[in-house]
């Protein structure tokens, strides 16, 4: 499965499943998202936290190796900007895609913004030599 063909197959399967699951939970619905972030409804928060708890347990039991990581300079400012963007537009990098898939055509504007933001980030960090690290992707 670690061949490029296997990874392509894994990406297609994971993408289909992620799109289906995230849409079915309601992450594409701005009202649901705002209710999660303002703690009016913990359903989506518990789905996210519950998933993390399951992943921690499964990887611990399976004894899967961990890759060393470090906290780089871009983590806190980058995450803060992401948090603001997520709260006002209702989208993380996957969510505008499923919003379009659900029929919300203005989410194409969010996608255009993400495209500009990602290209801008690479240009700025390359020019200023800012370390952006990686979550291992």
């Amino acid at each position: 499965m670690r061949t490029q063909g296997g990874i392509l197959f894994a990406n297609i399967g994971a993408g289909l499943a992620l799109g289906f699951v995230v849409t079915s939970i309601g992450f594409g619905d701005f009202a649901e998202l705002n209710r999660m972030f303002t703690f009016q409804d913990l359903r989506m928060f518990l789905a996210f936290a519950g998933a993390v708890a399951i992943i921690v347990a499964v990887f611990a039991i399976a004894g899967v190796r961990r890759t060393p990581t470090r906290i780089h300079a871009g983590v806190v400012p980058g995450a803060a900007l992401f948090g603001v963007g997520w709260a006002i537009s209702g989208g993380c990098p996957a969510i505008p895609i499923i919003q379009v898939g659900s029929g919300y055509l203005p989410a194409l504007v969010s996608i255009a913004g993400i495209v500009v933001g990602i290209r801008l980030c690479r240009r700025v960090t390359t020019r200023l030599r800012i370390d952006t690290g990686s979550c291992g992707v």
Partner: protein, 194 residues
């Protein structure tokens, strides 16, 4: 129209996607990284070609050493290092983004929630704005912040939030605490003040 999934079903679904992908592909599951590579496809294509050339040279070196019957090299010769895992190809990353769209469309259609519309729903209109022009500006600015922020932080809600936190990586725990915390503060401001 059916209800959204209960929290436990969502938790199992998200965990299964992340675990299955990590074990099958032996790499982290992240959407912002896929966006980044697809959007910089020229640079990434050149990198892919360079990696392929390096791999050919490495194999030739390994074969040459094996042909010389030297076994594991000793003395001043260093063993030929194993290359780092190659990142997913550009085609795979593009396929991930398209598949997310298809998966979302199927879920929306099956649940009876698919509805072509020119707004972002009643929630967005109530909490943020009902004015179409302002909506476009907010969505675009929000998108720029999401794109810039996730790449500056080195990951997003899937890479840092699910995979990284699931592996208990300190960098992902910090990133997730910061983006969730910031989103909470801004959402309260939108709800109570704006």
């Amino acid at each position: 129209m059916t209800d959204y999934w209960p929290w436990w079903a969502g938790a199992i679904g998200l965990a299964l996607v992340t675990i299955a992908y990590s074990l099958a592909a032996d790499r982290s599951f992240g959407v912002s990284g896929a966006w980044d590579r697809v959007l910089h496809w020229r640079t990434e294509r050149d990198l892919e070609r360079r990696r392929a050339r390096d791999e050919v040279e490495r194999r030739a070196l390994v074969d040459a050493l094996a042909g010389a019957g030297s076994g594991p090299p000793a003395g001043p010769h260093a063993p030929v290092p194993e290359p780092p895992p190659r990142p997913a190809s550009l085609v795979s990353q593009a396929a991930l983004l398209v598949s997310i769209l298809v998966g979302g469309f199927v879920a929306a259609t099956v649940s009876g929630r698919f509805d072509l519309r020119l707004d972002m729903g009643a929630g967005f209109a109530d909490i943020v704005t009902a004015d179409p022009l302002t909506m476009v500006v907010v969505l675009f600015v929000g998108g720029v912040l999401v794109g810039f922020g996730t790449r500056l932080a080195g990951g997003c809600s899937s890479g840092h939030g699910l995979h990284g936190c699931g592996r208990l990586y300190p960098v992902s725990l910090v990133a997730t605490a910061v983006f969730f915390g910031t989103a909470v503060v801004v959402s309260f401001l939108l709800w109570k003040v704006v």
